[in-house]
Symmetry: C2
Subunit: 150 residues, 2 copies
Amino acid sequence: MIQKLSEHDREKLQESLATTGQKVTPQREIVFAVLLAKRDHPTVEDVFQRARESMPGLSLATVYNCLETFVGCGLVRQVNHERESTRYCPNLAPHAHFRDEATGRVHDIELPPEILQNLRSILPPGFNSETIEISFHGRSQDHAPRPSSN
Amino acid sequence: MIQKLSEHDREKLQESLATTGQKVTPQREIVFAVLLAKRDHPTVEDVFQRARESMPGLSLATVYNCLETFVGCGLVRQVNHERESTRYCPNLAPHAHFRDEATGRVHDIELPPEILQNLRSILPPGFNSETIEISFHGRSQDHAPRPSSN
DNA sequence: TTGCACTTTGGAATCATTCCAACTCATTCG
DNA sequence: CGAATGAGTTGGAATGATTCCAAAGTGCAA
């Protein structure tokens, strides 16, 4: 069962939604709470399952809608790997992703600003990049338990 | 109409396929030739259309098969952008991709080895990466004609 | 000539995602 | 108050890329 949003997170939600003229709804609160509760890059289906525990009537379409809305107002990031289902990630700090092909898990990799700068500098003149996506693909020995929570 | 493979390219094809115990077929030759003829990161559908000009009976399933085979034996790379159709790229040198959101076109960006090294170094211990994918997303003023062919 | 391994093919099946029309609910307006 | 408006939600249908599958085809080797 998902814990309710903290006052702080609820405000963040409310403010971000407001920037695009949208409102807080019970469904959006729960979907957002699910993302914050376990930062394991869940798929839409994962979010759906988890959110349903708290709100059995919730529909899959709504989960799609909520997540799209969050991406639109900058609350979460989409993470795509090859052709697999899209995953969602509430970590807004610049970071790369490491996809462990043994477990299928996705780990965040901190991204030092100078690396980003470095990367931007290899673009030929005339190329202006808004976003850079970096994803590693391999195996990790890391089987740490849960990084968990927020 | 697609030009036949050069002797050199045909050998490359033959050798790569051999490493995984597979054979050169007319279909594979044409699909490979299509990739080399215009290095614009075509989708499966693009390849299908272009290849059909030379071999009208070719089936879509076969194009999927060929491309998968080529990826498997290291002849070409897959390029994924968000949830769009997979694109294919015969450029094997390490490079990043720049996706121009205005035109939808994908450009290769040369990747200096030290940057790759740099990136590898930000992985925490225990993470071993086989491949790194880097994709920029933005707009370019570059409307150069065809870099084209070989 | 028979068997075997690899290929190709068209159509069916799958699966994530998008679309859509009906419905809910809160708020605004006459 | 009661209708109108509009954002949000919902379930099911539709879409689109990709995969699966079973039936043929194509050498090559025994």
